[in-house]
Symmetry: C2
Subunit: 318 residues, 2 copies
Amino acid sequence: LSTLQVVVLAGGVGAARFLEGLVQVVPPDQITAIVNTGDDADFYGLRVCPDLDTVIYTLAGLVNPTTGWGIAGDTFACLDQLGTLGADTWFRLGDRDLATHLRRTTLLQSGASLSEATQLLCATLGVPVRLLPMTNESVRTIVETPDGHLPFQDYFVRRGQQDDVRGISFAGILDARPAPGVVDAIQGADAIILAPSNPFVSIAPILAVDGIRDALRRRRAHVAAVTPIIGGTAVKGPADHMLRTLGHDVSAVGVARHYREDIATFVLDAVDSSLTASIEQLGLRVVVAPTLMTGPIEKRALAERALEAALSTPAVVT
Amino acid sequence: LSTLQVVVLAGGVGAARFLEGLVQVVPPDQITAIVNTGDDADFYGLRVCPDLDTVIYTLAGLVNPTTGWGIAGDTFACLDQLGTLGADTWFRLGDRDLATHLRRTTLLQSGASLSEATQLLCATLGVPVRLLPMTNESVRTIVETPDGHLPFQDYFVRRGQQDDVRGISFAGILDARPAPGVVDAIQGADAIILAPSNPFVSIAPILAVDGIRDALRRRRAHVAAVTPIIGGTAVKGPADHMLRTLGHDVSAVGVARHYREDIATFVLDAVDSSLTASIEQLGLRVVVAPTLMTGPIEKRALAERALEAALSTPAVVT
């Protein structure tokens, strides 16, 4: 493992927890996480990057373990006062969390790229993994619902993921280029893992950035995806609801079918082992493993299985 | 007093405390405070208006009584974290205080003027006095010291007012127009009071905005200044040090001379009553009063004396 290069395509909480396991298996400086920025939003003029922040806080040991996002023990004095001043406060930014957004925004305003701002935040907080935003351009996930097209955080936080999702689009995607290092990392990776993140709003925006899906497919034999669906249910978030309203099987099969041209191996949860044949029929190899990351031991074990899955070339890649 | 219109030219702490007294004497909706914005600065991309904020927090009953600025009981979780992230933190912005700057900055970025942002902050925090920034344009006080020209907050906070002051200038002053309502308020005032603020960096920037000094001089017979110097010492801040290094008498006489063409009456502290003749020789009337605002009773008494001084036309105005 001494020279192994591993790439993880990452959303938020699920990816962060997966990376917590992976750093127990691979030296962190050999891990590159390419992180979704389609969830990014501006609040009070500050650039908030929820997925990057969740990964940063988790790998820095700062994350709130209850929510999976935000900083443990954070306070909300500023947000409460913003409410007094008549501002919207449905996006819960803690006082310490705000420092991240202030620092990032200042860096961006002074001409730094999001990559550079991310690198600085990681360095000061002691994040040992290399984190790359998928792009330095602005991409904004838009969720089509019966009530109209909603900015992602409106759908996800303000309205609590209750809306049926009829479609998803990525505003700005045509002008987005992969951030520096992204394509090289994929090309040079011995193993590429799609984290157990939402396929439609966490992984899809990354793959939609011009050049990233192509790079991934050239390494397809070494790409594995970890299921975000266990027993037909998303561990966290609205992936199951989205599968249903977007017309997919509400199961790991639905996810595997969605990924089938991009990956070689699908890591299926043990409770779903009866789905193995259905996924193999898609032309994918299946690795069955416990995927619920309840603690450090489970996280490490899942990372080991996913890494093995991505490293070993399957017999047939179509 | 039922229709009396009173205007106060205001800096920060001294002016805020003076206004606390004045609202006990005059209905607050008959008071207009025209506030210095030369101290304004941007931190982390946020617009901070220290004098406006001090007046707002004081009149909203939120101010930290120990410092005279900031919010009582405020916490510093965000600032501490900003320090962890490598940002400068010498300007001590509390968590609740930050909400003000976030809200103001958002409003300014969405096209509101500083006047409008101030009005909204006052309305939401229950400030009953009409607060007007001196201008909606950017004016920045620059302090000339032996170590060079320093932005005001660098001189005042970061370097702790230790530098000798050789000169003061106001960047942007030639392009600054009085904020809406400022000149009308002065023209319509029955009494105009220069608060016990720093003459050089609190009151001077206001008077330097094109049209404000002229409007004041047309009402000169009803303009009184309250001394910020008692017994040769500034109650707060570097006014005494500035008087010395700028070549003025380090006394109330130095202040009175500085103001002599703009005011009719000088409110001198009782401990300085021996200076009465010297100030009268400048062509000013002198009202002797206790000016140290140690509590609500003293604040009210000073406001009454200053108001009387400004209302009563002196025998001779040259």
